[in-house]
């Protein structure tokens, strides 16, 4: 059987090229791997090697020809023992093929035309619109969830710091599942730079509470590899600022592998640590990564505020089969809250909590900014404005149902976050309200954010750079069209 030699695509973008030179002539014997010709692509001159063996029976495109379309027949290869008659038929077939529109490729039905232009299933083709997104970033709560589903009420609670709640969450999950282990800098013998892992080494030993060298990219990647092998690592970053050393492993390895593997290779891992601004530690140690990680499909991103959030959500994160970024806040570590005193207290990922009911404006916040919003709400109540405060708890997937239900009642929204404004969480919520609650809005969605500067060290400047409760109050007055009381 004769074989058509087709003009090859020699780069991801090549559509046509110049056949610069034939290195085999008609009648020459060709072995697999022999260079047949030199071809100039849009980028370079490339050697074109034979894959099949035989005799070069006919050259169809002469050396020096420009604009030769990819997949146009350029020569005919004869098999061992084939003669002129086979060649004639092949030439005729090839000429028909290249005459049929050049760019259309070989007419034998095996070219790329058959594969990608047929419109059967090519997602990129205009004829086949992509199916509508089941939006993974915004499907925290089902749309038909009851609007004012009450928070579960617990008879018995105990006072606990966020720090203790996080430790208890890890300890309980480690007791329940031997595949869970915690690793990071100073997590074992030092018991945590912020004492979050206090007592864990004593209970679980150094096999499961692993002090790492200062090597963020290395241990983050190691944790991801261990998760591929079905362990359940909790990777502590001493602060999330240091996760930038490891961000390639978090995004390219942890978040994307499930998809790239067609669902085969899950990555049950938690990356946790303090995020955002502590106090007076300046620009490199004071940054909010919420919008960075929430941007990424394949991750879940949680930002707890209270000790109950911390406990219930960290337990959920450890059990979750997906990579979870768990953003804590150093300033909250020592704060005390009521935590339900029940066995196995777990909160659902993707569900926000209404921390305070109100009718006039919705404040949407996460992590430490929930405190600011509650403080602002108190002040506003004194002015006759009842603010509803939503604690997002999870940033991805975002609980859009809770936000929208509230907005449709209050008709006004102020978002509050410590991070920078540009492409931040507040920007996302503003867009959400525009898409889903435009007709309910009585004022533009307003953001209170960290200022668009690196964090300064000086106490007065740092305070100016961070959102303050009075700025939340001011923003609410703005959307309520009130002047200062």
């Amino acid at each position: 059987m004769t074989t058509q030699i087709l003009m090859p695509a020699l780069s991801p973008t090549m559509e046509e090229g110049t056949l610069a030179r034939w290195l085999k002539q008609e009648g020459d014997t060709v072995a697999a791997g022999d260079v047949l010709a030199e071809i100039e692509t849009d980028k370079a001159t490339m050697e074109f090697e034979a894959v099949d063996e035989g005799t070069l029976g006919k050259i169809l495109v002469a050396a020096g020809t420009e604009g030769v379309k990819v997949n146009q027949p350029i020569g005919i290869l004869l098999d061992e023992g084939e003669d002129e008659s086979a060649l004639d038929a092949a030439v005729q077939e090839a000429e028909t093929a290249s005459g049929s529109g050049g760019g259309g490729g070989g007419g034998n039905g095996s070219g790329p035309a058959a594969a990608s232009d047929s419109g059967t299933a090519a997602p990129a083709s205009a004829a086949t619109p992509a199916p509508r997104a089941p939006d993974k970033s915004r499907e925290g709560a089902p749309e038909d969830a009851p609007e004012d589903a009450p928070e579960e009420v617990y008879d018995s609670t105990k006072r606990q710091t966020v720090r203790e709640a996080l430790r208890d969450a890890m300890a309980e999950e480690m007791r329940a599942d031997p595949a869970v282990f915690v690793m990071g800098e100073e997590v074992a013998q030092y018991e945590g730079a912020y004492k979050i892992t206090q007592g864990l080494l004593a209970e679980f030993g150094d096999k499961r509470v692993v002090d790492t060298p200062i090597t963020e990219m290395g241990f983050a990647g190691l944790g991801v590899g261990a998760a591929f092998a079905r362990l359940k690592p909790i990777v502590e970053f001493m602060t999330f600022n240091f996760s930038m050393q490891a961000i390639d492993q978090i995004i390219n390895s942890a978040a994307k592998t499930l998809y790239m593997a067609g669902g085969q290779m899950g990555c049950p891992i938690v990356f946790r640590g303090p995020n955002g601004a502590a106090a007076r530690v300046a620009a490199q140690h004071s940054q909010c990564y919420a919008s960075w990680y929430a941007h990424v499909p394949g991750l879940k991103v949680i930002a707890p505020w209270s000790a109950a959030d911390a406990k219930g959500l960290l337990k959920a994160a450890i059990r979750d089969p997906n990579p979870v970024v768990f953003l804590e806040h150093e300033i909250l570590y020592g704060q005390t809250f009521d935590v339900p005193d029940v066995e196995d207290f777990v909160l659902p990922i993707g569900k926000a909590k209404v921390e305070r009911r109100g009718t006039d404006v919705t404040l949407v916040a996460f992590s430490r900014m929930v405190s600011h919003c509650l403080e602002a709400a108190e002040t506003l109540a004194g002015e006759g404005i009842e603010a509803e405060v939503i604690n997002l708890r999870t940033l991805r997937p975002l609980d859009t149902a809770t936000i929208l239900a509230s907005v449709r009642r209050t008709n006004r929204v102020v978002t509050v976050e410590e991070g920078w404004p540009f492409a931040g969480i507040g920007a996302e919520i503003g867009q959400l309200c525009m898409e889903e609650a435009f007709d309910w809005l009585d004022a533009p969605v307003t953001r209170v954010t960290g200022k668009d500067v690196p964090m300064p060290y000086a106490a007065n400047l740092e305070k100016l750079a961070l959102p303050q409760p009075d700025q939340v109050v001011e923003a609410v007055r703005g959307v309520c069209y009130r002047s200062q009381a």
């Binding site: 020699l10 780069s11 492993q249 998809y259 067609g262 089969p321």
Partner: protein, 345 residues
Amino acid sequence: MAATRRSRASSGSGKGAADAAQTRGFEPDQLEHLYRSMLVIRRFEEKAGQLYGMGLIGGFCHLYIGQEAVVVGLQCLARPGDSIITSYRDHGHMLATGMDPKGVMAELTGRATGYSKGKGGSMHMFSREKGFFGGHGIVGAQVPLGTGLGFAHKYTEDGGICFCYLGDGAVNQGQVYESFNMAALWSLPVVYVIENNKYGMGTSVERASAPGDLSQRGASYGIPGKAINGMNVLEVIEGAGEAVEHVRAGNGPYLLDLKTYRYRGHSMSDPAKYRTKEEVSKIRSESDPIDQLKKRLLDDGVFDEDHLKEIDKQVKGIIGEAAEFAQNSPEPDPAELWTDVLVDA
């Protein structure tokens, strides 16, 4: 001994080196397996190159042609339960672990029947069943991941070890040394295999790496290292055996520097102008891993020409079927766009 082998390997010539690894000591079945496995990779990659030329494979496509002896030799030392991880020049590793050429080729053509349902492509394929953990596209990133696989072998005490491959281009990434440090510190069962094909894309080892023996890059962590002629599959098996035993016995990691060569460009769109044609053709004619084994099999009278021709024919058939399958399989259903982002909790 190791030094001798190194000098032979770095001369780029397999001549005489084969004396160190005669076919004696290998069963005919095993020799046939080695020959067949290398040929499967060679023919598969040639076919992939052809399909790329036809526009049926897109994007980046890094061929393994010339390096077959490395992974085929090392896989002879692997056991069920071991894990294998590599970077993006990964087709050879998949085939050597026993992954189906049809599924691999169909992934290259972006079809629903590919190992990743067409969503990963050339650089991103996986098979839990065969212990193949990818297929990773960021240079050096697979090294901490492989170290984590080693960590898991040790943690679960499953008796497995990890074969973690990296190129000579990856050896200057910081995370490689972060991994070496932890692997040595915690005695993790990892065989690090540098596939030293002399060029990281267009930059030769000499221009990228400070002078020195890459096999000794783990020395300051106490990781033993050894250079091996990676163009001769029998030498790979003989040379790496000790390293694999060292790791399997719980002595921590080992670093191998396999001197090899890729005949094709870095990827399909690389014209490879940074090296001479003479350099490539000299290695092809003198050190080709398949030709070397073939000559040895014939010279030693293990198989005759007809037997090898029969294997060639069978392999050609397997690859032909894989190519047919890859071209005739459907593209992924559009609904697949939205699946596999997260595991349902």
